[in-house]
């Protein structure tokens, strides 16, 4: 068994709102080429490949069919995890730990610009018998959850608007980001509601892009610029809208605890230097922070309001700009967050750099209407 696994190569294409000049296969090829160069390897040296894709995001059934060629993985062990980017990462980690691989590759991508009716696709994820007949816009589910969160947190909409401002401003310094902007809180609060109390500006905008990670078993060997995967977790909570806990991200709490147990993290608030947390909707950043630090509902909002989640704060959250600033690519977003965290831990984040970053936490979510997400603790083993 290989007990230590590290990320030794990263390839990320700059996220873009549209990419009419590139097919998704060409984007993946670009990301893979970068990742292999970064790791100093070629695809024949890779033992297993894991890809992440959902058919209805691709517009193709059995999207697994179209995975191997552009990765250099033809006639190799390749499989698709139809799930979150961190679930794909976990699948690769487990294959390395099991001894089935010394080198593994994980890929995810988004060609969201190909989808003309996002809300209608998302609505197909609702239970056909009990939920779909209500014909609600799936974003309204997030709006319901946001309303419950603000109520239980005793927080005002200013705090989620401030998340938008923070993340989009950070993105101005991120060469991989599509949506950098200098916004003011008043602008966000004056924006039209997508579904009250969720403002349109609080929904991360879609982006195209591809990300490839190279993993290696690192028992004994020291690889340059390797970032250890100290712990990884994932969980699925209640699929039904009617049965779930609305104000807190239970799946994130479970995933973080699993990752912390593996990593030996006992006091996350003291041991984690930076957080890349899913912010598909602005309020989710606060929910995920509370899950990660075992906080009461609302404490995350108060930390954010006090400026503690900025780049130089005690709990830097989404120094990359998150999905709000970089762009949202469905299940690929989790691996974009991971790539950004790896960059930080390598000290290569440039203007985004969080000082003395040694340990990072990434938290992901599959988006409405799911209660599925993952967590990974990165750092020196």
């Amino acid at each position: 068994m290989n007990s230590h696994v590290a990320i030794v190569g990263v390839g990320l294409t700059p996220l873009r709102p549209v990419s009419p000049d590139l097919s998704y296969r060409e984007m993946i090829f670009e990301a893979a080429t970068k990742a292999y160069a970064d790791a100093g390897i070629g695809p024949p040296e890779v033992d297993v490949f894991v890809t992440v894709a959902e058919d209805l995001h691709e517009g193709t059934s059995i999207a697994d069919e179209y995975t191997p060629d552009q990765l250099g993985a033809v006639r190799r062990p390749v499989h698709t995890v139809a799930g979150d980017g961190l679930q794909g990462l976990a699948a690769a980690v487990m294959l390395v730990r099991a001894g089935a691989a010394e080198l593994a590759v994980v890929e995810a991508h988004s060609k969201a610009s190909n989808i003309t009716t996002h809300e209608q696709v998302l609505a197909l994820a609702l239970d056909p018998a009990y939920e779909r007949p209500r014909r609600i816009n799936p974003h309204a589910i997030a709006a319901l959850e946001m309303r419950r969160y603000l109520y239980d947190a005793g927080a005002s909409p200013e705090v989620t608007a401030a998340v938008v401002v923070k993340n989009r401003r950070r993105a101005l310094d991120n060469p991989y980001a599509a949506y950098g902007a200098a916004l003011r809180t008043e602008e966000v609060l004056a924006d039209a509601y997508l579904a009250d109390p969720l403002r349109t500006l609080e929904v991360s905008p879609y982006a195209d892009g591809a990300v490839v990670l190279v993993l290696a078993a690192t028992d004994g060997a020291r690889r340059p610029r390797a970032v250890g995967i100290r712990g990884i977790g994932w969980a699925t909570d209640e699929p039904a809208l009617s049965g779930r806990s609305w104000a807190q991200a239970t799946y994130a709490r479970l995933a973080c605890d699993m990752a912390y147990a593996q990593a030996g993290v006992l006091a996350p608030a003291d041991e984690i230097d930076l957080f890349e947390l899913d912010d598909t909707y602005a309020y989710k950043e606060l929910q995920h922070l509370e899950a990660a630090l075992h906080l009461e509902i609302g404490e995350g909002a108060r930390l954010a309001a006090a400026g503690r989640t900025g780049r130089s704060g005690k709990y830097p959250v989404n120094p990359s700009g998150g999905s709000l600033g970089m762009g949202y690519g469905y299940d690929a977003s989790a691996l974009v967050r991971t790539a950004m965290a790896v960059q930080q831990l390598r000290g290569e984040a440039g203007a985004l750099q969080v000082s003395r970053a040694r340990t990072a936490l990434v938290v992901s979510w599959r988006g409405v209407p799911t209660t599925s997400g993952g967590a990974v603790v990165l750092g020196a083993a």
């Binding site: 069919e65 993985a73 995890v81 976990a90 099991a98 001894g99 994820a125």
Partner: protein, 373 residues
């Protein structure tokens, strides 16, 4: 079955519950759940893994969906194996579910969406069409007659008479198979597995835990998988090299150097009659082009030297895509423990191989299972 009244959640629940009960375990004993289920387009639910999660026992647990098209049923146990072999989990529940019947007028129509949107979909292909291409290439390359291939339908539909979940078991003759409607030449209707709804589940456990739970566990001795190019038009379809790739990986792990001698029972994927033969060759259990002759002389019969599809396979039991592959794993489980009842092969086998296939005729997933003593 052809069309279940149950939802996919309920199908998952029935299979998962039965598996747990067979191991005398409760849901709380399960530490993680793996789900294998193929195209979301059939159930008509996006992110279908999440929809099925609670039915499959995944509520508030680490729950993961692996998806390699038709290969998913056998890949599910490979995914489950990696969860246990990684050291992260000691008890893992693996569930495979498929509900194809919601598609109207016929589930076959949904398969148009698997093809390349630019170079293939405008041709209006379907699975019957492309598998007919492959069958014809196989027949042409090795000089195989349709009568020889039809014997696979005869064998498997007869074997399935003894399977409790069989959808299309029966006694048919080669003449009846070749008299059945041509769906896409040279494929006749009785050479094709049906669309089905169904679910299957197994419980995996780490070695020390398994020995406490069962006096006769069935061990995962080898796993292998391989994905060929998506440009299937550039490949020679006469031989499934991706199945050989996967088989060599699994045999290597299991320490098998002479598969024909060391494998006692086989469950190759048989969605079409010719595929059982094609896959037996890819599994290195027959010479290239010779599987039909071995079949004709009874080698693969239930009382033959190397029983193949003693369950009745997809041709006899049915083809709920992902669940069909796991059904074959279940069959090996019962065969290796001597619990296959009327389907039991006489010399209780010690080692078996299961194999599934899918995507655009490009993925092979292979698992070697064995018992001690």
């Amino acid at each position: 079955m052809r069309r279940a009244l149950e939802t996919g959640k309920e199908l998952s629940y029935y299979a998962a519950s039965a598996a747990l009960e067979s191991a005398d375990l409760r849901r709380r004993d399960v530490q993680a759940v793996v789900m294998a289920t193929a195209p979301d387009a059939f159930d008509g639910v996006h992110m279908k893994g999440d929809y099925l999660a609670d039915g499959a026992g995944g509520w508030r647990k680490p729950y993961l969906r692996a998806y390699v098209g038709g290969g998913s049923g056998v890949f599910s146990i490979i995914q489950g194996w990696s969860l246990v072999a990684s050291g992260f989990f000691d008890v893992v529940l693996v569930v495979a579910e498929e509900k194809m019947s919601p598609v109207r007028p016929h589930p076959q129509a949904a398969f148009i969406s698997i093809f390349d949107h630019t170079i293939e979909r405008p041709l209006g292909p379907n699975l019957l069409w492309i598998f007919a291409l492959e069958q014809h290439r196989y027949m042409h390359t090795y000089g195989i007659a349709n009568e020889e291939i039809a014997l696979a339908s005869v064998k498997n539909k007869r074997n399935a008479l003894a399977h409790p979940a069989a959808q299309i078991a029966g006694e048919v003759t080669v003449e009846q198979v070749l008299a059945s409607e041509v769906v896409a030449w040279p494929v006749h209707r009785l050479m094709v597995s049906p669309t089905s709804d169904g679910a299957a589940a197994i419980v995996l456990a780490a070695e020390d835990v398994a020995k406490r739970i069962s006096s006769r566990p069935v061990w995962v001795e080898g796993v292998g998988w391989s994905l060929d190019t998506s440009y299937w038009g550039n490949r020679d379809l006469a031989y499934p090299r991706y199945v050989e790739d996967a088989a060599r990986m699994a045999y290597g792990m299991a320490g098998i150097t002479e598969p024909r001698r060391q494998i006692d029972v086989a469950e190759p994927y048989d969605p079409f009659a010719y595929k059982e033969l094609h896959h037996l060759e890819g599994l290195l259990l027959a010479e290239r082009g010779q599987a039909p002759r071995d079949l004709a002389r009874g080698r693969f019969d239930r009382d033959g030297e190397l029983p193949s599809c003693p369950s009745g396979g997809l041709l006899g039991v049915g083809n709920p895509i992902a669940a069909a592959g796991l059904m074959k794993i279940c069959e090996l489980f019962w065969q290796l423990r001597g619990e296959a009842g009327a389907r039991q092969i006489a010399r209780t086998p010690r080692r078996g191989v299961a194999q599934a296939w899918g995507d655009l005729m490009q993925v092979g997933t292979v698992v070697v299972l064995g018992v001690v003593g």
